[in-house]
């Protein structure tokens, strides 16, 4: 019998795309679909997905949980567990439309929740850690339930299919956000599992990724020391946890975290100014188990921004373009031109060079 993610590690190739408005303007879901559709050849119909930020302005103070259920029994069990930990202000089916290419859909539910303050206080941890642990626990212990999105004012939508089919299925054009990421998957095994599609999300982090990393088990075994559980055995999952650990738990900047996962070569470090040499050496030494080798290009989504990063050898292609206040990122230039034909500038970042784009904070707080 073929095994799904979590039972076996499945390498995959892929396409990624992203768009963000630096002024927090709303961008309709159809925009990102136009981009990812262009790279049809890079995926094989076994996984597609999107993450939108700023898409739930009416519920922006609540964690939006998107959940796949195998059946209603699993839903009842999981909902009971959720009620024990959260106040659920809204529970609903995520609206979908029939698409002949999207088959075997699980039950797909969405909950807007707030952690019960008494439970958070009892555990003596902050609210985000509480949510992260709750998600990790449900995903590892509840049969037939899988929380695939858990951030505030953000949501992940994914399925087995080509990304444009997945977008149609989820009615992505009905959503608008200040940033979007997209993924088309080319797994090398299995009929694909919905949970294994990208983006992978935890809290407001989402990761889309192209490539297969060779450092996977080193990274996994290191990060699992800190309470993370790599259920899916996918690169995106471990990359998401790495950024969560470095940024949220260690308090590193995104730029510093990028120097951990895509560290410059020692010979390159030796040519930097002394202070920078010291810092980069410290970073490589301190978090040596989190260096990622092998090909990757990723877009990391978070509240208020995106980070795009290539591996240090730049074994995957990635292009970044600007038009007015909007930044576009994709595996191929053609995907960007499909979203915006007339660009102000376009470039390929160097291997290991993080591209960090953030939304003007004021706009974010007022308008979203």
């Amino acid at each position: 019998m073929l095994q799904k993610e979590g039972q076996v590690r499945i390498p995959s190739g892929c396409a990624i795309a992203a768009v963000i408005s630096k002024t927090g303007e709303k961008i309709g879901g159809e925009k990102i679909v136009a981009g990812i559709r262009t790279m049809h050849e890079r995926s094989n119909g076994l996984g597609g997905g999107f993450a939108g930020y700023g898409i739930y302005p009416d519920y922006k103070d609540f964690y939006a949980l998107h959940v796949f259920y195998d059946d209603n029994g699993a839903r009842t069990d999981c909902e009971n567990a959720l009620k024990d930990l959260f106040e659920i202000v809204k529970a609903e089916n995520i609206p979908t439309r029939k698409n002949p290419a999207i088959k075997d859909a699980p039950l797909i539910w969405r909950y807007f929740v707030a952690p019960l303050p008494s439970r958070v206080a009892a555990m003596q941890i902050d609210e985000r850690e509480f949510v992260a642990r709750a998600v990790t626990r449900i995903n590892s212990t509840f049969r037939g339930a899988y929380i695939f999105s858990s951030g505030k004012n953000t949501g992940t939508f994914k399925a087995v299919g080509f990304p444009e089919e997945v977008a149609d299925f989820y009615r992505l054009e009905d959503y608008a956000g200040y940033s979007w990421t997209a993924h088309g998957r080319y797994p090398t095994n299995t009929p694909g599992w919905w949970g294994g599609a990208h983006p992978f999300s935890l809290l407001d982090w989402s990761v889309v990724h192209n490539g297969e990393i060779s450092s996977y088990d080193t990274n996994r075994r290191f990060i699992e020391m800190f309470g993370y559980k790599c259920h899916l055995k996918t690169d995106t999952e471990v990359i998401t946890y790495i950024f969560d650990y470095l940024v949220r738990r260690q308090g590193m900047t995104l730029r510093e975290a990028s120097s951990v996962v895509a560290a410059p070569f020692w010979t390159t470090i030796a040519r930097k100014p002394e202070e920078e040499q010291r810092e980069l050496t410290y970073i490589r030494n301190m978090f040596s188990g989190l260096l990622i080798t092998g090909p990757f290009s990723i877009v990391l989504g978070f509240s208020g921004g995106l980070l795009a990063l290539n591996d240090r050898l730049k074994l995957r292609s990635m292009v970044v373009a600007e038009k007015g206040n909007t930044t576009y990122i994709a595996s191929e230039e053609a995907a960007i031109r499909a979203m915006e034909p007339d660009l102000d500038s376009i470039r390929s970042p160097m291997g290991g060079e993080p591209v960090i784009v953030t939304v003007n904070k004021g706009v974010l707080e007022d308008g979203n």
């Binding site: 070569f265 040519r271 191929e332 230039e333 053609a334 031109r337 499909a338 376009i346 390929s348 160097m350």
Partner: protein, 239 residues
């Protein structure tokens, strides 16, 4: 003849190009891959962004792109000419054995990787802007010329140029003071003889992109050549 690329699959387009003997204009191109694969005759003009593997195994045809091209342009190209009025992505000219590629602006990583020469074939890759890391990795023949004509303050070439180079010549329009070359190559200021060798390519570059050839005189060129054809012999012990 004008063609709207959005109405074609790559297979149908290449079938059409193979049947044509004169100029074909491909418009509205957005990521269509494999254009001109193995094409031996005719001229293809492309508007838009052609997809990966443009002109792979090209065998005599001429391709002109009005805009940027993506990865693996001229992969294993044997003969012909590719002119890009913009940037190219990674691994352009991979293993090219003959023909010429002209890029007006910048090139990505691993450009000219494993370019080689054979008999009368001497491939040439001319980049007007700058090149990314691993330029000319394993270069075994032919010419790689980087002109650094853009004025954005970035280095003319990224890290690790010429690693594993064991043939051919690389020219960089720079004194290369900040460029670190591997041990098995020699970088020296280009002399008159060296410049004479690449003159035809520079002229063609100016012609293709309407540049005034004065840039040839106003900056030093560095030429890089490998010290040996067999740099790795001493790495092994018979067992």
């Amino acid at each position: 003849m004008k063609i709207d690329a959005s109405l074609y699959t790559h297979r149908a387009l290449n079938d059409l190009l193979r049947s044509r003997t004169d100029e074909t204009s491909v418009e509205n191109c957005l990521g269509l891959r494999f254009i001109g694969s193995g094409l031996s005759h005719g001229t293809v003009l492309i508007d838009g962004v052609p997809g990966n593997a443009l002109g792979a195994y090209l065998d005599g045809a001429k391709i002109i792109v009005n805009g940027n091209a993506q990865d693996a342009v001229g992969d294993t190209m044997n003969k012909g000419e590719i002119i890009i009025r913009g940037n190219v992505g990674d691994a352009a000219g991979y293993a090219m054995r003959g023909g010429e590629i002209y890029v007006e602006k910048n090139a990505g990583y691993r450009v000219g990787i494993h370019m080689k020469a054979y008999k009368n074939n001497r491939p040439a890759l001319i980049i007007g802007g700058r090149a990314g890391s691993f330029l000319g990795e394993y270069q075994a023949g032919g010419f790689i010329i980087v002109l650094g004509l853009n004025d954005d303050g970035m280095p003319i070439v990224g890290n690790f140029p010429c690693t594993g180079m064991h043939g051919g010549k690389m020219f960089l329009r720079s004194d290369c003071r900040d460029v670190f070359f591997p041990e098995q190559v020699t970088a020296r200021p280009a002399g008159a003889e060296d410049m004479a060798e690449i003159k035809p390519y520079l002229e063609k570059f100016c012609d293709a992109f309407h540049y005034n050839p004065s840039f040839i005189e106003n900056a030093p060129f560095t030429v890089v050549t490998p010290d040996t054809q067999n740099p790795y012999k001493q790495m092994y012990v018979a067992n």
